[in-house]
Symmetry: C2
Amino acid sequence: MSLDRRKTTHTQIEITERQQQVLRLIVREHVSNGRPVGSKFLAERYSIGYSAATIRNEMAELEAAGFVDHLHTSGGRVPTDAGYRYFVGHLMDDIDLPAGDQIMIRHQFRQAETKLDDWPELAASVLAEIAGNVSVVTSPRADTARIRHLELISLQPQLALLILVTRESTVRQSMVHLPAAVEQVDLRVLAGQLSADLAGRSAQEVRTQVVGSTPLAAAVVEQIIETLRQIDSPDQISIRSKGLQNIVGQPGIEDDDVHAVLQLVQGGAFLNAILPQVESGDRVQVFIGRDELPDQLQRFGVIVATYGVDDNVKGLIGVLGPTRMSYWRTISTVRYMSRLISDLVADLYPAAG
Amino acid sequence: MSLDRRKTTHTQIEITERQQQVLRLIVREHVSNGRPVGSKFLAERYSIGYSAATIRNEMAELEAAGFVDHLHTSGGRVPTDAGYRYFVGHLMDDIDLPAGDQIMIRHQFRQAETKLDDWPELAASVLAEIAGNVSVVTSPRADTARIRHLELISLQPQLALLILVTRESTVRQSMVHLPAAVEQVDLRVLAGQLSADLAGRSAQEVRTQVVGSTPLAAAVVEQIIETLRQIDSPDQISIRSKGLQNIVGQPGIEDDDVHAVLQLVQGGAFLNAILPQVESGDRVQVFIGRDELPDQLQRFGVIVATYGVDDNVKGLIGVLGPTRMSYWRTISTVRYMSRLISDLVADLYPAAG
DNA sequence: TTTTAGCACTCTTGTCGCCTGAGTGCTAAT
DNA sequence: ATTAGCACTCAGGCGACAAGAGTGCTAAAA
């Protein structure tokens, strides 16, 4: 699992070694301070062999190349989106997450096994805390859901609760209105029968199969199909997000930006916006600002990885933060957690292969 | 189901009819504009029989009574928390939600039946949209969870998935590490047996009962108890919240306030903070600002109702917004939705009585 | 040819003073 | 009891001003 560098590789603009160094310092400094960084400042703070004037010249070149910008004639340089991309693609030490963080993550994530229903929520919490930004985790999904098991529980004479377990261990409940009053014992028998008949089948396959010998069975099967279709529906992907508080009050992030993020993340539109761009595979992908993210997220960067097994059961895990964020730390955190989750999922969904 | 007025009734400070009218106008105007409201303004805008000077005198009285305040010598009056409380308790038309909103809510909430797993999330979405503020919905909980049914599914030779359904239709999954390799058929038998033996029992009762004739059964029962205890644990209440974007950019709400809300709501601390104050029953309760909410929520108001059946299965639904919010609208919305949810829950959990 | 020192210029940020508008409190008249 | 009038106060907007930081350019030094 290595970093995806294709995004930046094709914008291959030549840059001298020293310009790279300057860009690296600008990014680093601006990420930690949030303020524009000037030549004098760099020359004084870091005792590199060059003077402020030299740095100024290099900065001018970097600006011509589109990697930095300055808003006012006299206001220090700020990395552009392209600058951040170059930094991520070429200037970043691609080292692993510090052992301390790894231990902390594993420790916190251990309770996922016993609190299995909501491990995405737990993962989101852990990720948000370690990365110090907004985390996003989707529940795992198969290409097409297949039935593993189902239960029927009588609620009222003509109303039953259907519990459907897929091969990927997704559990869904829904109500079934029954055409006639039915006893719990009869529901149990029906559920056992349907479980046996339909095990391993998808929505499509359930539909085409001859079923519904009785009105009762027909009603149940109808609901089963509806539930499976809901699971398969791409706009029903459940998304968990934590750490939203981390983006308020950041320099460069306005109320409008916060508003946009909250709206997108809570409404699910966020997923629709970035999902098409994500390619499954073993890479951590980085999207930065304008041209790589929707308009409302111009001031943000997104770091995502897919997790899962076998290209079948898979999901998404990522971090959203201001463009001005610590990329190497976030990237290594996301990478580490996606591995961890893949392991969990592999345990959970062995039948998916 | 009527409004809870006790909170304000005991601070019975005498106030003339006209002062009430002035207070009502101040609240109304400040809620809609967000700006402090002055005597001249009121006199001109509303053609009541009194002059600006009279209103000024009344305002002075209201201020002495602690219902309004002015930050600067010359900056119009603003309702205090006590002022809002008086308004909610005495000056508000306690009418029902407009029919249009009722229809819209019912319409949107209809899909809850088929998307049953996450109806709290759906409810939170609807509530946030209608109320235009932050919504909060907890999943329903019984005093003590009791087993209705359980399933065991083989994941690996020594690893199984336990699916536990409580009488309140809560479904939980967890992993069980088995002391030896076990086939799916045997797990099925064991699950059926335990289902029959333990149906209707709580964590306590499962524990005290003589069980675990075999190491395998013992391992499973151990996990069952652990899961039940988790369900019973008060700090594991799952909470859904939507509409967080609605509080950013509001006049009077600073970044710090937004930060606090996001932190409290996402971390679950919000629930711990207000839950002790909520009394179950048929009333909508209102908590406003300082003295009724935690320090970080000084600038907010919370409107909550409990839903559920029989004092047994119950949950919470509420709205969080700036003190400067439309109380009558929010209160009637919360009241209406809590009724709707109670109906849903009554269908879902008939066995709970 | 590359690097650097120096200098003039620009632009932000903070501060001060000024003015205006809105609102108050008080007093005297109705 | 109500109202008109008046002096007073304060926030917010505006311009002037100085300080600080940073730039671009040019000429000298390496």
